[in-house]
Structure formats: structure tokens, C-alpha cells
Amino acid sequence: MSAAAEHERDPGGPSRASSRAGRDSPGPAAAQRKWSSTVGVILVSTLLFFVLWQAVAWIVGSPYLPGPVETGRALIDALSRPDFLGFTMWEHVRSSLGRIIIGFAAAAVVAIPLGLVAGWFRFVETFASPWVEMTRPIPPLAWIPFAIVFFGTPLDAVFIVFLASFFPIYLNTVAGVKSVEPLLIDAARTLGARKAFLFTRVIVPGSLAHISIGLRLGLGYAWMSIVAAEILGVKGGGLGIFLWTMHEVGRFDAVFAGMVIIGVLGMLLTRGISFWRAAESV
């Protein structure tokens, strides 16, 4: 998680608009042809992926590397009945998502007001900067040993998610306040806006685009951190626990099935985020 990644560029830039226009410019027939050839390439590529996977699994012949067929069988098995711990896959997913939502929401609730105030009052930003600079370079996962003993299940995983999503939200909110055009602040002042009015009616709405970027990044980081947090700490249900338990009993087909589920959910989350972004830029 580098500082650069936490400052995603504003999505509504001109390059995006021009690339969209460029995609629309060929006629509908040409677009149709282009689309069907794209689908063809994707199908072939996907097929090749599974073939290669199967081939490598055969050649290696390791019990730790199941092929796609075994993984598929384990996937159906994992989705159709509870595992030997007594949890259904739905319960694992629900536990993980619940932790993500709580940790992410807590991060947003703390980071947005703090970022707004720090962006507006230089003193607050300066005061907070050593705290931020000292804690931010510590990977969230490095907090796990502390979190396990200090918080215990399931708050330890929530805490890790909180840490993972806090910094992108905070830093982007600060950047958002600073991005508000000084001219708009001047205009508001000549219209009689005093401090509180200026803050709520110009600074906050003027920062929303950046805050939303911070939230999207924060959600992505939350997802990245949850599995590791669960593997290392949490007891009970959860996708990370499913993976780790299956690893411990040597069910590597089930481990791979769990990875597939995590990948699919992550993809859905990313899709959801890109819909969010698209809805915003309309």
C-alpha cells in the first residue's frame, strides 16, 4: 500500500472522456464485430487457462496442487453442504463481509470528519501528521499479533480492516479539502458566508469527489486484508478460517475452492465499485 496508490487520480478527467468518445466513434456494425471478436479472444484465453492449469497439475502430480476438475468438485461440495466445522459457505461469506462492513464503516466514520477538519485547519493537520506518518508505514497485518490478544475474535479482524481502510479515506479527504478552488471560497465569502456556513456548504461538498475516491480505495484494501486477518487470528466462521482449516487437514482441493470463491467475490466487489464510479461520473 504505497502513498501513491492511496491518491488515485480524479476519475472525471478529460482523458477518460476522450477515450470514451474514441470507443464510440466507429459505426455500430464495426463495434459489433469488435465486440464479438473480443468475446472470442476471452473465451479462448479462459479455456487455455484451465487446460494449462490441468496440465501443470498432472505434470507436477502434487497433492498440494489440485487441478480444475478436483477444485470444481470441491467447490460444489463446499457450496452444497456445511464443512466439518459445521459452517456453510454462506456463513463463512457472511462472517467475512460483516467484519469488512463494520471495520470499513468505522474507518469512514472516523476518517472523514478527521480528514475534513485536518484539511481545513493547518494546525490539526500538522498535529496529526506525526501520528499518521508513524502508524501508516506499518502494514495492517503487522498489527495482527497485537490485535489477537488485545481484541480477540471477531474484533481483531474488524480492527485490521479498520486500519487497512482508514488511511486512504483520511488522506483523500484531506486532499479533497485542499482541492476546493480558492476562487469558490472567495465567491462564498463575498456572498456573506461565514466560517461554519463556508465549511458545510462549500468545503464539504467540494471535497466529496475525493472522499468518494478514498472510500473506494478503502473498501478495496479492506477486502485485501480480511482473509489474512482471519487466517492469522479469528476463530469461528470466515473465508480465511475456511482456507486455513482446509489447509490444516490437507484438503487442498477445498483450499482452491475457497480461493475461487474469494476471487469471485472480490471481482463482484470491484464491479460494484466501478458501477459506483460510473454512476458518479454521470
Binding site: L184, A188, R189, G192, F197
Partner: protein
């Protein structure tokens, strides 16, 4: 008619105003007054500190020396009695036309029916009916400028400071907006200080023109425009005034300025 409107009561007084930015002297010992209800244009070459002068009058930029007085009070910060129209419009992009125009009313705590009527009045005045729910990015430059003018007027300020508001408009919208502005001025009767680099625009609009020199900006001359309104840009008297002002700005280039009357007298 013009003389009677120019009340002897001074509304704004700029006294020995000097503004320096680091080593740069933007304005040097500027002094002039603006009467209540008067329309004063400030012209001068690009970079002569016209915008700085207007910002100092608004209370957005502090003077290095000297002061700005309004109705006997020293200007130290912006206030709703001095509205400003910015060159770059400065509309709030997340607000609709109606919300932009109502912004100053909200800041003053005006609510409900009174606010709605007030906004509707100014929407009407600048000819934006039917566009109330549009956002700034959906509007043309001319329409954005109308919103900015309505927004500045809606709080009914005693003084409206306008910074080259029509600078980015094409010739046709520009001349339309000038006539509109005069109509609005006759209705609401605010004091207007209008910065421009177009001599023609200054003569068309103003009761009086204050001419600034190039950097550092100083007052070179003041000229009262005694032509009856609505002024005709191609009229002989109009051109005579234009020639006189051009002579003040660029001594010796008078002949060029008069030779080509339909072209805007743009300086710098």
C-alpha cells in the same frame, strides 16, 4: 438623467491604496471615489492590477498601504454589501442555477417563501427562467455569467464589483450581456465598479471611466462619459470619446484607434 443619478454621496472611497506581492508592486497609491448608484468602469492594460484593485475593494486582498472605505466603514473583509462577479464565474458546480443564486440568501438565513420569491425575481431578471434546475456545466459561458450576476445581485448589495465579466464571451453575447446589465442596473440601481480592458465596453456602460497605467497600476486619468443612453457604438460622439481615452492610454496612437471604429478598443 445621468447626472441626477450620480449622487454626490460617495459609496466607495479608495485612498492611497498600494498593494505589493513580495517584490512586485501591483498597485501604487491609487485614489478615487465611486458615488452611490454610479457605474464606474476601470480600464487599463493587462497586468495593471485591475483584478487586485477589485479584490482589495471586495476585502479579499489586504492593502500594503492605504485603505478602502465603504459608507464610512473601513473594508477589512468581504461582506454581503459588496457583491462580486468573477472573471471565471466561480459558480458552485454541485449546485443548480436556483441554488447558486440562492447561496447568498442562505448565508443570510433567508428561508421559505421569501427566499423562493427572491430567487425567482433574479432568475427572471437575468432571463434564466426554465433553466433553474440546470447545473453550471450544462450552461454556455453567457448563461453562466448570467447566473454569476444574478447570484451577486440576489443579496441586494449596495455595490457590485465586476471583474471582466464578459471577457470570455463571443462578440454577440458580449454585446447582449452589456445591454442586459444596463437594464438590470436600471432596475436594481446598485453601485457598479466594472473592470474591463475594452475601451468600447467601458464607454458603452459607464458613467465614468478610471484609467490605470501598466505595472505598477496607477490612476492616469478619470473621464466622465456624458453620452445619453442607450449609446450607439458607431456614433460620432462615441468615437470622439474613444479617441480621447485611447490618447490617454497610448499617446500618439490616436490615429490608429479612430481609423477603425467597429473594432473593439482593446488595450494591451
Amino acid at each position: 438623467m445621468d447626472a441626477s443619478r450620480t449622487s454626490p454621496v460617495a459609496s466607495l472611497r479608495v485612498v492611497d491604496l498600494t498593494v505589493e506581492f513580495n517584490d512586485l508592486i501591483a498597485l501604487q497609491e491609487i485614489s478615487f471615489t465611486v458615488g452611490q448608484g454610479e457605474f464606474v468602469a476601470i480600464i487599463g492594460p493587462t497586468g495593471c492590477g485591475k483584478t487586485t484593485l477589485l479584490r482589495a475593494m471586495a476585502g479579499l486582498t489586504g492593502p500594503t498601504h492605504g485603505e478602502v472605505w465603504m459608507d464610512g466603514h473601513r473594508v477589512v473583509e468581504p461582506g454581503p454589501e459588496r457583491g462580486m462577479v468573477f472573471q471565471e464565474f466561480a459558480l458552485f458546480p454541485w449546485l443548480t442555477v436556483r441554488q447558486n443564486i440562492g447561496f447568498g440568501l442562505d448565508a443570510r438565513g433567508l428561508r421559505g417563501e421569501a427566499r423562493a420569491q427572491h430567487v425567482a425575481k433574479y432568475v427572471e431578471m437575468v432571463g434564466l427562467r426554465g433553466f433553474e434546475e440546470y447545473r453550471p456545466r450544462q450552461l454556455s459561458g453567457g448563461m453562466k455569467q448570467r447566473v454569476a450576476i444574478a447570484r451577486a445581485l440576489a443579496t441586494e448589495p449596495a455595490v457590485v464589483l465586476m471583474d471582466e465579466p464578459f471577457g470570455s464571451l463571443d462578440a454577440q453575447s458580449r454585446s447582449d450581456m452589456q445591454s442586459e446589465l444596463l437594464r438590470v442596473w436600471r432596475q436594481a440601481r446598485p453601485t457598479i465598479v466594472f473592470v474591463t480592458h475594452s475601451v468600447e465596453e467601458a464607454i458603452f456602460l459607464a458613467d465614468r471611466v478610471v484609467i490605470l497605467s501598466a505595472r505598477p497600476g496607477r490612476v492616469v486619468a478619470e473621464k466622465t462619459i456624458d453620452l445619453p443612453r442607450e449609446r450607439v457604438r458607431t456614433g460620432a460622439d462615441f468615437n470622439a470619446v474613444r479617441a480621447e481615452i485611447m490618447e490617454r492610454i497610448q499617446p500618439g496612437e490616436r490615429a490608429v484607434a479612430v481609423a477603425d471604429p467597429p473594432v473593439e478598443g482593446v488595450v494591451g
